[in-house]
């Protein structure tokens, strides 16, 4: 079942002579139960692709459909609600609140989204899988880059989203951890039937992907094996 579909997406910044086209007729599809990798170097437009897919910004033209909803046509408020309930973001910048402990990062979600989050047992299992269960009382500033990244992943998964969008989730991790994250994302797709999209330039994740798109200068093509 198609969870994400981007149809003829164009994104331009600026106007007149300073106009820059960042995405050029991008077509993309990710199904539930799939881990889809978007590979591309820095500046290729992959983060713009991710933010448009997640409804953080709008495309200049084209349609984005998430879980059967055309998000190009919904209000900002509905999009916020959709993002909170259906999308889990794993960001390169860890997306953790600096003044909340690991435990409180999840508590904050409970305050805003009061149902359909992981229960305590599921959360502890997730934290154990990510080997951060003994860090729940630490602040982000007390954690290493890799630990922060794993907390950010746990935070994104806590709302039990149907769609997971990850931006360079392995940027701060060593190879051993990359494999763990790769396996985790793959198991989320396979065992929990989630659509997982990872934008990265980390080729070490290729082995875990069901399909791979490559993006270069704003143009996206699906790699055919």
């Amino acid at each position: 079942m198609t969870a994400i579909e981007l149809h003829d997406i164009n994104k331009e910044f600026g106007s007149g002579l300073s106009r820059v086209k960042v995405l050029n007729n991008v077509n993309f599809k990710a199904n539930k139960g799939e881990l889809v990798l978007v590979l591309g170097p820095s500046g290729s437009g992959k983060s713009t692709f991710l933010t448009i897919t997640g409804g953080l910004q709008t495309a200049t033209s084209g349609d984005v459909t998430l879980d059967q909803n055309n998000i190009s046509k919904i209000s900002k408020r509905d999009m916020e609600n959709f993002r909170l309930n259906k999308i889990g973001f794993v960001l390169q910048a860890y997306n953790l609140v600096p003044y909340l402990t690991v435990k409180e990062q999840f508590k904050l979600v409970d305050k805003v989204k009061k149902s359909h989050n992981l229960d305590n047992e599921q959360l502890m299992t997730l934290l154990k899988t990510l080997e951060i269960d003994d860090l729940i009382n630490k602040y982000p500033s007390e954690l290493s880059g890799g630990q922060n990244q794993r907390v950010a992943i746990a935070r994104a998964l806590y709302t039990d989203p149907e769609i997971i969008l990850a931006d360079e989730p392995t940027a701060s991790l060593d190879t051993g951890r990359v494999d763990e994250v790769g396996e985790l994302l793959q198991s989320l797709a396979k065992q929990q039937n989630k659509a997982v999209v990872v934008v990265t330039h980390d080729l070490r994740l290729e082995n875990y992907a069901d399909r791979i798109y490559e993006i270069m200068d704003g143009s996206m093509t699906e790699r055919v094996n």
Binding site: T48, T51, L56, Q57, E80, L91, A93, L100, V112
Partner: protein
């Protein structure tokens, strides 16, 4: 609320400094307001203690108690009720060996009228003859005691302090309550003069003499020498201080909010609704200002307790509450100004491109 409290708890130094700034500003405003009110109160506390609404003066006196005289002939035209009382006023300098001289106001009263009857003493007794006086407690604070003999002018002989009373100042000078005969002696006018004025609990004194005129007590107070000018100066001083302080607090809270925008971008990216962030910002500002106001109030009360009695401080709680409310409203404004920025914060900034 959760985010607001957690951030304050985590960023203790930063928020302590902001609270300290609000404490100092509120303390400054509270102390200045209390001092100004204290001074204003010293102009009128005797009149306030009589609880009167009008005053009958000689219409050529320029609404000045010291300049007004009512002759016995004029007094015959006044239909005095139980709510009216004669007052004879004379500016005197109290002298006594071993004590400092005190510029005072002698107020002669009729022992059968309400001012004398309602006079509350903190010690001693009321006057029983023309050579006795009841003095404001400032005399006590300056070392005068019951039984001390004081000279009020060079020709009237000595007066004995037989009692002390609180809240008896007129135009900042301490009042010495005596008799109308004592006043006549001090003024050197003999018995042709009845008094300086008639004060009344009614809005008008029943009088048929065209040389006498009733004024409202507020009009009389406004005409006390220096009273209006002094109050206007303090009012402007406090108003400017308030405006500048409020702007400073608003700017601080604005900067505080702007500094948090990167965190807000992260939260927005996570789908945390903008209204949660706006409520957090406003709630946090209210907490900071309330904490500052509470500590500022405690410091002001401590100051009032420790400050020498010669420096008058007076608390007008409705006015201080208004000042506090102004600070709270400003803090909310300071937090609301960047709301547009919060609403427009771009979650994309945390992802980059």
């Amino acid at each position: 609320m959760f985010l607001a409290l957690k951030e304050i708890k985590h960023e203790k130094l930063r928020y302590s400094l902001i609270i300290a700034m609000i404490v100092l500003i509120s303390y400054l405003i509270f102390v200045l307001t209390s001092l100004a009110l204290g001074l204003a109160n010293e102009n009128t506390e005797a009149i306030d203690s009589w609880n009167v609404r009008s005053i009958l003066l000689n219409k050529d006196s320029n609404i000045s108690l010291g300049q007004s005289t009512i002759t016995n002939e004029q007094a015959d035209d006044i239909n005095l009720t139980k709510k009216d009382a004669y007052v004879g006023s004379a500016s005197v300098v109290a002298k006594s060996s071993g004590h400092s001289q005190i510029s005072s106001t002698y107020l002669g009263l009729d022992k059968n009228q309400f001012i004398e009857n309602n006079l509350k003493l903190s010690s001693g007794h009321k006057v029983r003859n023309d050579k006795q006086i009841v003095a404001d407690e400032k005399f006590k604070d300056s070392g005068y005691k019951l039984g001390d003999k004081v000279k009020l002018d060079s020709s009237s002989g000595k007066f004995t302090i037989v009692g002390f009373t609180k809240n008896a100042k007129l135009n900042v000078a301490p009042v010495l309550y005596g008799t109308l005969s004592g006043w006549q002696t001090l003024k050197g006018m003999g018995s042709t003069m009845k008094a300086s004025a008639v004060v009344s609990k009614n809005t008008k004194v029943d009088n048929s003499n065209s040389n006498l005129k009733t004024y409202s007590i507020n009009t009389f107070i406004d005409k006390l020498p220096g009273y209006t000018a002094q109050n206007s100066t303090f009012t402007f001083m406090i108003a400017f201080l308030m405006i500048i302080s409020l702007i400073v607090i608003a700017v601080f809270l604005y900067i505080l909010t702007i500094q948090k925008l990167p965190n807000y971008a992260v939260l927005r990216a996570q789908g945390i609704p903008a209204n949660v962030l706006v409520k957090t910002t406003i709630f946090q500002s209210i907490i900071l200002v309330l904490a500052g106001l509470i500590i500022g109030t405690i410091l002001t009360v401590l100051t009032a307790l420790l400050i020498p009695t010669s420096v008058p401080m007076n608390f007008n709680f409705p006015m201080l509450s208004l000042v506090a409310l102004g600070l709270i409203i400003t803090s909310i404004l300071g937090a609301i100004i960047p709301v547009r920025t919060i609403l427009k914060v771009d979650p994309v900034t945390v992802i980059g491109g």
